[in-house]
């Protein structure tokens, strides 16, 4: 990051940065990408995701479907994974003993066969706590654990879930020139939402006993005025011990991806995992490092009230008169009604004379990517 700024500074003086898309075939070989780990311990589900490398500049995932994926134990036990989503393979709830060695075996639909090296199970130390603190208008969430008396390697995954509310409740909808009342259920669906997110970064740490007994690893920061902390926020942290080789592998992947263009960047490295092609087509290459470990989980909740949040500016609500209704509230008019003022005419009919409205995404949290259904744990 430092280097990025340095380069950006130079660029501000005299330089310039332009987007670059290679105009040549970069030659994506048929790399298979294997992500996941063998989840040992009591009643655990192993999830493995298979995909293929895609050309530079593309954003569409290329899942590897209809593969046969299994976990093999040294003593011959074999556990099959089933494809639950495109390219996503899961076991049933298994209790894999931690004192055995395992490997992952994949047969793709074109009959190419791959296997990982045999790996023993890394026993993960327990999470002591997941805590939060406020520094510089940010909530910093950290995980604490007690380190063993030897160099240890960790990987953390987390998943965030938060409740969000629309700025206003919408009591009416506008259709065929008329305001019609919404049902209470629909009003709730538009007003209460839950969103979740996973980080797009790998969190790993190498810890030496010299650094002390406890690890306090900051996982993420949230701005106090962000949507995440507007109502209630929850984070589920998964901690996993790694072998040194697995740790180094992830480090290379992460370093290769955070290159800043300065001459002080380390040169990108090739990634060599521990999964290999085992049939005659030995040239087929695999990205991925298969490890086996137990895990520990911890979920915490943070209430907005505990944070003294900075109130977010609401969307502006505007008032419209009869003649403006059609242009404002028709489909694509840019507004959705919040409230409507009716006047009873001589026929005792209620006629709208004035309405307040706001942009649809201020009234319907689903438009912000929220789901109206709370998760099980909420």
């Amino acid at each position: 990051m430092n280097k990025v700024r340095y380069i950006i500074l130079l660029w501000l003086i005299v330089g310039c940065r332009e987007s670059f898309i290679p105009d040549f075939e970069t030659g994506v070989d048929d790399f298979l990408v294997v992500e996941g780990f063998i989840h040992a311990g009591t009643k655990r589900v192993t999830t493995i995701e298979l995909s293929r490398v895609i050309p530079l500049g593309q954003q569409v995932r290329n899942p590897e479907i209809r593969a046969s994926v299994s976990i093999e134990a040294e003593d011959g036990d074999q556990f099959y994974l089933t494809e639950t989503d495109r390219g996503k393979y899961q076991t049933d709830s298994l209790s894999l003993p931690v004192d055995k060695k395992y490997r992952l075996r994949i047969i793709t639909r074109d009959a190419a066969e791959y296997a990982s090296e045999w790996v023993s199970v890394s026993i993960t130390t327990a999470i002591n706590d997941v805590t939060w603190s406020i520094t510089q208008s940010q909530v910093v969430i950290s995980v604490q654990t007690t380190a063993p008396n030897a160099t240890s390697f960790y990987k953390w995954d987390f998943s965030e879930t938060w409740e969000l509310h629309s700025d206003y409740q919408s009591a009416y909808y506008y259709e065929f020139g008329e305001f019609k009342p919404r049902s209470p259920e629909e009003m709730n669906r538009m007003y209460f939402c839950w969103r979740n997110a996973r980080p797009n970064k790998l969190f790993t740490l190498s810890h030496s006993p010299l650094a002390g007994e406890t690890i306090n690893y900051p996982l993420t920061q949230i701005f106090l005025n962000s949507e995440r902390t507007s109502v209630r926020y929850s984070i589920m942290v998964e901690q996993r011990s790694l072998t040194e080789a697995a740790y180094n592998y992830l480090q290379i992947i992460e370093k290769n991806t955070s290159i800043s263009g300065s001459l002080f960047d380390p040169l990108p490295s090739e990634v060599q995992g521990n999964i290999y092609s085992i049939n005659e087509n030995a040239q087929a290459k695999v990205i991925g490092f298969m490890g086996a470990s137990t895990t520990d989980y911890k979920r915490i909740f943070i209430l907005a009230n505990d944070l003294n949040p900075i109130p977010n500016a609401k969307c502006p609500a505007e008032t419209f008169i009869l003649s403006q209704f059609e242009s404002a509230f028709r489909l694509g008019g840019g507004y959705m009604p919040i409230s409507v003022t009716f006047v009873r005419d001589e026929f005792f009919q209620l006629n709208p004379v004035q309405a307040t409205g706001a942009a649809p995404y201020c009234l319907d949290c689903r438009l912000k990517g929220g789901s109206p259904v709370p998760p099980d744990f909420w």
């Binding site: 340095y6 290379i252 380390p266």
Partner: protein
């Protein structure tokens, strides 16, 4: 006893000469309105005097002369009375008659003795003696003892070349062109040249000075001190003397010299004369990018160049991450780069030697200069301390912080500070010996609005004693200490605050001899000692709240001992050879704990077999090597020569850097039981031709080179604060080859050069203990492999005060590694890299222009000023500096970055006093 005959020539002032006894025969002549050549021929017929003149100069002049019983000088005085015709008479009764005074602006002190016959401890007499008048005029200088004259016997001519301020001039060329003999003066202005006794035309050249052209009569060995006058009136004369001696005549291959006076004509990004940028314009010298520290010579890495500032080794020769070279151009007197034939006296680095030499202080007056540019200010002061001691003090600093103030708020906290200081104190102990103290300090401290402060220092001090034994033996002894270290801080987040430091302190002792026996040999020999003490890394907590694990890697120590001998032999007039050998021993010394590894398995923590502990100064292991250095020159025809050279070098100190350029976090590591010394062999051949009376020099050189044990880095190598670097590196071998062509014009209004280089540099993994192979163990291009390179540097003098310089550079883009694809992992896109350096940046092109305006040239004016106005990257081309792919919000984006994406104008002002 000893005979000293002191000759003094001061031609500008002479209008007549006095006669000597042997010239006192009397003649009677009478001519009425005859041409002067006619009269001279008549005199020649009459007497035993011989007259030399240019007929074209004199045959339009008619004179009448009538004299009775007069000596020849008296007759000539009468004849030339009130005419601007000058003459000189030598002891052989040769009379030179000329109307031209242009070649007579020098002052010559000649002292003739035959050293081989004389007592060496004879007291020095004042050089201006009563005999001075003897030498007046345009006469032939007599050197040596006439009574012992045997024609054709090898004798030695030596002396000191100075300017009118009595400063010694380094790298002035002393030549006798008819014999193809030439030497260059050393840092104290001394020169020694071996000649057959007899009459010679001696030419001494130095850029910015009037040429000294003199006929000498060499009876025996002797001394001739020469004073060159600075050519204020003569600016259209030689401005480039990029090679002091002609390529055709010199013996070495791949040697380039650039005079500091030409450096200022080469436009740079901020208009400041830049020593390192100037050598990048030479064929065979490349860099990674516009803003990068270091340079690459003939396929060598940036750490394979020995950068010497007088005798001191400079490890980081740049300021501000490579924007400026760390040498103050105002104190530099000579820049010499050895690309191919590395003299046996140099060693310790694989690719090249860059010798930057400094001035010696002005012994007469306090003088100096000061200059300002957009980013830096500099000054230089020099003068006498007492009659025998002079000093030079040069300094430079930046005030670029104002630039940051103009930038948006988020950059306001940026800080860039650097300075450098150079001090040279010289003391003349006696006529034959002197002592010079050189001190150099450069300091950088920049954060550029990042949270890390990068601080690094070069600190060098050396003392050199030079002695001339006056029998052809010349000695230089140098002692010194070099320091390079960095100290990077991060303090932003208390928990992560750290301080990372690296230090290399090396002490050296060198003793070098040059011996010129009375034969066709020139011997050089000496002993160099270098003691390295490296603290490879210390990682400390940056504050009490820091959770950084402190690491302190123990110091390592090594001793490099080199003994060299070389002989330059003139076999025939056309064939000469320099054969040398350098014997080197490197001892890796304790105290140290050394890990040993299974020799057949990858070198990693798991394959360590043993740890041995060594006591202080105990030899852990020893490397020895013999490096032959040979160059030969054969003159195929007049002004056309062929040269062949072989150079072998080795290097015991490795820069550990997994970045493309030298960065302020790189460390240096000594060879040890697990890291072998780097080796290189180079074979080169060259063809050199001078055209149209040496106004053009053409050279064509080809080379092939093998490099072994250059280090590359394992995937994801941890290089900082790592006690076991050997587990992160592996050896590679490389091959480099190329052709360098150059046409250079050294005189006239237009000067400059045009160079083209074709070169390739390929490396491959070559280490059974590597554990992995870059590009499957195949050859791949090095980061600085730029096959085609074209450079034009030109300076056109319009008037004496006004000149324009242009430089143009085109090269193939450097190789880069770009991803072959992306994949999803950890909920985001990641890049997949495969083959190293499989793609190239677009080609590079840049054109720069500068206009140089000198203040007026009134001779007695106290201040002289000098303006440089120009534009860098005149075409505004966006030359990509890098192409990179980075993750933004989980998606991989590609960017092309240019540092100088537009025209950069600049103004620079220098004042001399």
């Amino acid at each position: 006893m000893k005979t000293h005959s002191f000759l003094f020539v001061f031609a500008l002032l002479i209008l007549s000469t006095q006669s000597k006894a042997q010239q006192q025969q009397l003649y009677t002549v009478k001519h009425e309105n005859r041409s002067i050549p006619y009269i001279l021929e008549n005199l020649q017929a009459l007497s035993d005097f011989r007259f030399f003149y240019k007929r074209s100069e004199l045959d339009t002049l008619y004179a009448s002369v009538s004299a009775t019983n007069r000596t020849i000088p008296q007759i000539l005085d009468l004849l030339f009375l009130n005419r601007k015709i000058y003459y000189a008479i030598d002891t052989d009764k040769n009379v030179i008659v000329t109307r031209s005074i242009a070649i007579n602006t020098e002052v010559v002190f000649a002292q003739g003795t035959d050293k081989s016959q004389e007592n060496l401890s004879a007291p020095a007499q004042p050089r201006l003696s009563a005999n001075a008048v003897e030498g007046r005029g345009n006469r032939i200088l007599e050197i040596g003892d006439k009574n012992k004259y045997i024609p054709g016997r090898p004798v030695q001519l030596s002396g000191v070349i100075r300017n009118t301020d009595r400063h010694p001039i380094q790298a002035a060329s002393v030549q006798v062109e008819a014999l193809n003999v030439g030497v260059a003066s050393d840092s104290l202005g001394h020169y020694k040249i071996l000649l057959p006794s007899g009459k010679h035309n001696l030419i001494i050249r130095f850029s910015g000075m009037e040429n000294f052209v003199k006929t000498i009569m060499l009876y025996g060995s002797g001394e001739l001190d020469i004073q060159l006058s600075e050519s204020v009136k003569n600016l259209e004369e030689v401005v480039i003397q990029a090679e002091a001696t002609s390529n055709v005549k010199s013996l070495n291959l791949g040697v380039a010299q650039i005079s500091p006076s030409f450096v200022k004509y080469i436009p740079t990004a901020f208009g400041e004369a830049d020593v390192l940028r100037s050598i990048l314009t030479l064929p065979g010298v490349k860099s990674i990018g516009e803003v990068s520290t270091g340079f690459n010579v003939r396929g060598g890495a940036a750490d394979q160049n020995l950068i010497l500032f007088n005798d001191a080794t400079i490890y980081n020769p740049a300021h501000f991450f490579g924007f400026f070279s760390a040498f103050n151009s105002e104190v530099v007197s000579g820049i010499e780069l050895f690309k191919s034939s590395m003299p046996a006296k140099y060693g310790g680095r694989l690719s090249s030697v860059l010798q930057v030499s400094t001035k010696t202080g002005n012994p007469k007056n306090l003088t100096g200069s000061a200059g300002i540019g957009p980013i830096t200010a500099r000054f230089n002061l020099e003068g006498p301390i007492n009659k025998k001691t002079t000093f030079v003090l040069g300094g430079r600093t930046t005030y670029s912080n104002w630039l940051f103030k103009l930038l948006p708020e988020e950059f306001e906290k940026s800080k860039a500070a650097f300075y450098d200081l150079t001090t040279i104190v010289s003391h003349q102990l006696s006529d034959a010996s002197s002592i010079t103290l050189t001190g150099y300090l450069s300091h950088d401290e920049s954060n550029l609005n990042t949270d890390t402060t990068f601080r690094y220092d070069n600190k060098n001090i050396s003392i050199k004693y030079q002695h001339d034994f006056k029998n052809g033996l010349y000695m230089a002894v140098a002692l010194g200490q070099d320091h390079y270290g960095y100290d990077n801080h991060f303090t932003k987040r208390a928990a992560e605050a750290y301080k990372l430091s690296f230090v290399n302190n090396q002490s050296f002792a060198k003793i070098d001899f040059t011996f010129l026996p009375q034969s066709r040999h020139k011997l050089s020999f000496g002993l160099n000692l270098m003691n390295y003490k490296i603290s490879p890394g210390q990682l400390e907590k940056g504050g009490p709240a820091s959770t950084i694990v402190e690491v302190d890697i123990p110091q390592e120590q090594g001793l490099e001992t080199s003994l060299y001998f070389s002989d330059e032999i003139t076999l025939t007039d056309r064939l000469s050879i320099e054969a040398g050998v350098r014997l080197t021993q490197f001892n890796y010394l304790g105290p140290q704990e050394v890990r040993y590894y299974d020799p057949s398995a990858p070198r990693n923590d798991g394959n360590a077999t043993e740890i041995r502990t060594y006591k202080n100064n105990e030899t852990i292991n020893t490397f020895r090597g013999i490096d032959p250095r040979i160059s030969t020159r054969y003159e195929l025809a007049n002004n056309l020569s062929l040269k062949l050279g072989y150079t072998s070098t080795r290097q015991f100190i490795h820069m550990i850097s997994n970045t493309v350029s030298i960065s302020p976090t790189d460390i240096w590591k000594l060879s040890d039981p697990n890291i072998a010394p780097q080796l290189s062999h180079q074979l080169s051949v060259g063809l050199y031709k001078d055209l149209s009376q040496k106004r053009f020099e053409i050279s064509l050189e080809a080379y092939g080179k093998r490099i072994r044990n250059y280090l590359d880095y394992k995937s994801g190598a941890q290089l900082l604060a790592n006690a076991h670097i050997e587990t992160e590196v592996f050896k590679t071998s490389g091959k480099a080859y190329g052709i360098e062509g150059m046409i250079r014009k050294n005189s006239g209004k237009l000067t400059g050069w045009l160079g083209y280089t074709f070169s390739r540099t390929l490396i491959k993994t070559d280490d059974i203990q590597a554990g992995e192979k870059i590009n499957k163990g195949n050859y791949y291009p090095a980061n600085y492999d730029k096959p085609h390179d074209f450079t034009l540097v030109a300076n056109e003098k319009f008037t004496r005060r006004f000149s324009t310089s242009m430089s143009m550079s085109y090269s193939t883009g450097r190789p880069i590694t770009i991803p072959i694809g992306v994949f999803y992992y950890g909920n985001s896109q990641k890049t997949l890299y495969s083959d190293r350096n499989g793609y190239r940046l677009p080609d590079y092109f840049r054109m720069d222009l500068s206009i140089n305006i000198e203040g007026n040239h009134k001779v007695n004016q106290r201040l002289h000023n000098y303006w440089t106005i120009g534009a860098y990257n005149l075409t505004g081309r966006k030359n990509p500096y890098s192409i990179y792919f980075t993750s933004e919000n989980g998606l991989i984006k590609g960017y092309k970055l240019s540092i100088f994406g537009s025209v950069i104008p600049f103004v620079n002002y220098t004042i001399k006093f």
